[in-house]
Amino acid sequence: MNTASRWLIALGLVLATAGILIDPPHAEAQEVQVTGPLAGAPAVRKMRIYRAGRFQIQPEFGATLVDEFSRTLMIGAQIGYHFTDWLGVHAFFDYGGDLLSLNTDLTDQVESTGQRTDNNALSLPDPAGFDKQIGRINFLTGIQATFIPLRGKLAMFQALFVDTDFYLFAGVAFASVKERADIKDGTCTAATLRRARDMGAGAFDTANRECIATQDQTATRLAIAPTFGVGLSMYFTDYVAMTLEWRAFPFKWNTSGTDEGGMNKGRDPDKNGPFPDEQIDASDRTSQFNQMFKLGFAFYLPYKGKITK
């Protein structure tokens, strides 16, 4: 225990002792009767309790942020129950998929100006087909605890007033990701392609076709990730609120479908050995701080919330 803590304890004890022992003058003969308008009033009067004891059903729309190769739009829903006005549990499901994902500008640039040689054929079998090999998020689901520490109201343009709360959440997420399938059989390696080239045009065409075919092959897995974030709920009625939410769900995945295991940015071999290892596998997954922004409309049941005295 440090000196500051000791002083604090000593000060607290002195104050406590003084409060008990020192006889406050006139205290015993008085009976306080509060007769003003605030007599017996609680800290907040007639406060609407939006969450305690109520279920929340929330359709939502979102989009991933700061993506390298593919941006995913998501539609989904969130359901939850609140034990108190400041604590609840929620489950969420957001669907993305191929139809709702957009290529980033970087993906377009690789498709239009990326260069393929025998040395990088495994990473980029065909520049024009690069968007087929990039990783995408199929769906994101999970459960979380929601903590609502701040409750208040805001005024817009000094005219529109809405009840608002600020919440934090943390939990576990399960992300279904589609990545380029593992390639460990030597297809697309520089040695394979050079050998085929030496054997003649026909052999090279066959080897090249096999290499390009790997670009379409994908595998789906479920990645487990922590999830956390913050949000703002604005209550338009007793049972409808608009929510703005930022969510993070970091995990490792191969966003580009390229061979990344091996040498790092500092040109040093990493734990996967020298680069390239000429395989597409789990060692090519890199840490990604995945994040998304969501807009939702929350409906609370039962419709009528409590109002404090």
């Binding site: 002792t17 409060g19 020192i22 406060m47 701040l150 390229t258 940015k265």
Partner: protein
């Protein structure tokens, strides 16, 4: 050390509460004190406690309808017999319209901050910044800000990976600093209660302006020959959205997202043949400019000067 601090604070809080409890028994508020707040009281109040109006603005209690209504009832208990415990009344004042927590008009705001870029996956443009605003009204300010980037930026792994895997020359840009003249408007404000105990005042603000960015391309296509100096570019509009939370009447914390759009000439992808052409500086940059959006997220604090201020109108 954390545990011991928690214990220490608990003991201190407990001590304060016990002391306050004892003191509270002795508190008395009556009509005379309320009148004293207006400067008209003839009888000195026993506890000497004054309403907040008296403490802050010297406002008169006259004209306070609810206070007056409450004070009418206050005459009854005074007629209690002298013997036995003496009842004391409490006449509290409430106001139909509360004063704004912190007035800003005619105050100067200093805003140190730390920021990072949101939209450049190749280079992380970390920066430190400072802003200075003069508040013309409570919701409108003019000012300037500057962000310093040089020495704080870092190139991402992605750049390295893309070059290696796709043989694609991504052409990053380095920033030295950016500065802007700004106007700020506060359209949204409100307050939050934490655990129904602590009240935080906050507001959201919009900002825009015009400024400069001093930047240069990073040579990646032909770094042997090419090198670039920092040059000034004009950034216009510079829209921003921010959130400010008041910790005291002169200190706040804020978070802000701002876009600095500007035109940048990136490094030329074409390399001339021969040393003479490679050394030709006129061929180092693209002939056309590219519109770059530098999106910066910042967090920081604001300090208002002077620290204190006077309310014009009574409470």
């Amino acid at each position: 050390m954390t545990k011991s601090r928690i214990v220490a604070w608990l003991v201190l809080a407990l001590g304060t509460q016990v002391s306050a409890l004892a003191a509270a028994e002795d508190m008395s508020f009556d009509l005379e004190e309320t009148e004293k707040a207006g400067g008209e009281a003839k009888v000195e109040a026993e506890g000497g406690a004054e309403g907040e109006a008296g403490a802050e603005g010297g406002a008169s209690a006259e004209g306070d309808l609810i206070g007056d209504l409450a004070s009418e009832d206050a005459t009854q208990p005074n007629a209690a017999p002298d013997s036995g415990p003496k009842p004391t009344e409490v006449s509290e004042e409430i106001y139909a319209v509360q004063q704004v927590y912190a007035l800003r008009n005619n105050r100067i705001e200093l805003m140190p901050s730390f920021g990072f870029s949101l939209n450049d996956p190749f280079v992380s443009h970390n920066n430190v910044g400072v802003g200075l605003n003069y508040w013309i009204t409570n919701v409108l300010a003019v000012g300037a800000n500057m962000n310093w980037y040089q020495g704080l930026e870092s190139e991402s792994e992605l750049n390295f990976h893309v070059r290696r895997s796709a043989r694609l020359a991504t052409r990053p840009t380095e920033f030295q600093f950016g500065a802007s003249l700004n106007m700020t408007y506060v359209p949204v404000y409100g307050k939050f209660a934490m655990f129904e105990r602590y009240i935080f005042q906050w507001d959201a603000y919009l900002m825009g302006g015009i400024g400069i960015m001093k930047t240069r391309p990073v040579p990646v296509v032909d770094p042997t020959y090419r090198s670039f100096d920092y040059t000034y570019k004009l950034s216009i509009l510079n829209p921003a959205l921010g959130l400010r939370v008041f910790l005291t009447k002169w200190l706040t914390v804020f978070a802000e997202m701002r876009v600095y759009p500007y035109l940048e000439k990136l490094e030329n992808l074409r390399v001339g043949l021969g040393e003479e052409k490679r050394a030709n500086k006129k061929a180092w940059l693209d002939s056309s400019s590219t519109l770059v959006f530098n999106v910066v997220a910042s967090v920081g604090m604001t300090i208002y000067f002077p620290f204190t201020f006077d309310y014009k109108l009574p409470k």
